[in-house]
Amino acid sequence: MTIEPTFDSLLDELRRVVDQADPIPDAVIRAAKESFVWRTIDADLAALVNDSAAGDTAAAVAVRASGAARLLTFQAPGVEVEVEVGETGRGRRLTGQLVPVSSARVTIRSMTGAVDVVADEFGRFSADAVPAGTVRLEIERDGSTSPVVTSWVSI
């Protein structure tokens, strides 16, 4: 790779200026390191397979334009979780559906705390005033020994 020497020295200058003008805050590094405590080894991961607010599909554009609720779909082997995220004032309202239907204990986990709700026999659950930020759902279905945790998602 050959680069003009003037580019090289300009990059060196840029490196120094960026380091000085916009260093990564210590708190951001600390938070990244702290993420490790959320490592889970004894639960099935339900990956985020669809996010109505992501991508450039017509549906995503329509969702954003209309201010309609955002729909998230998480999938793990044998279980699917659909979550609608609405905005209510400063918090979020989460309305969820487990498939296959099952009653369950659902914990909405954030960096700062947790909200516990119960899914009814039709697999429906909801939570109000969930603080905006990065969350995941931890789900213990009645009659199942394997808990499910969803991927982290910023709401």
Binding site: V17, I29, S35, F36
Partner: protein
């Protein structure tokens, strides 16, 4: 002590080695931050994106098929999260090559403390560049500079276009720096 490889660190972290995880963070946190800031996110949004990206890596730490692809994976995850924030805040998400010629017209607003006039001019010039250039150049000057493959992931561009894009972005940076230098009456090159 020899440097531990990424594969080694990922394996150790997956097995619960906190120190290995901390090393991964120390090596790559700046890249994640640079990408988010390069896309013009506020410090608060960039912190949020960074948090989400690292939490996602915790989830996948034992599942990444290709340890060598870690940085590209982090860069891609970061880019997707940035786009989500940009859409939420009603900002245009660029696409295609054409936007290289479009100015952001939005110099970095933060007041920063910089030693010299020349530094201030360079920082201001960077803030004027198209978003894609800001991401590329900021990623390139990270302590752990990413490969072209990894830069391509950060930008969502083909690897083959990174080289030419890099040249154009550096050209533009030089040009804007010169314009600013002339404007303040400082025509020295500053290359001392």
């Amino acid at each position: 002590m020899s440097e531990r490889t990424t594969a080694d660190l990922l394996g150790a972290a997956a097995a619960g080695d906190r120190g290995a995880w901390d090393t991964l963070v120390e090596r790559h946190a700046r890249l994640v931050w640079s990408i988010a800031r390069g896309y013009g996110l506020s410090a608060a949004d960039a912190a949020d994106v960074s948090q989400t990206a690292w939490l996602r890596l915790v989830e996948h730490v034992g599942r990444l098929r290709d340890p060598q692809g870690l940085v590209a994976w982090l860069a891609t995850t970061t880019r997707h999260e940035c786009f989500r924030v940009m859409r939420r805040t009603g900002r245009e998400v660029f696409a295609g090559e054409g936007d290289l010629d479009v100015e952001t017209g939005d110099p970095t607003p933060e007041t920063v403390v910089l030693d010299s006039e020349r530094d201030r001019l360079l920082w201001a010039a960077l803030g004027e560049l198209p978003q894609r250039c800001q991401v590329l150049l900021r990623a390139m000057v990270c302590a752990e500079p990413p490969s072209y493959q990894e830069l391509a992931a950060a930008l969502g561009m083909p690897v083959g276009s990174i080289g030419p894009t890099r040249s154009r972005c550096l050209d533009q940076l030089k040009k804007r720096l010169r314009v600013r230098e002339v404007a303040v009456g400082n025509t020295e090159t500053g290359e001392t």
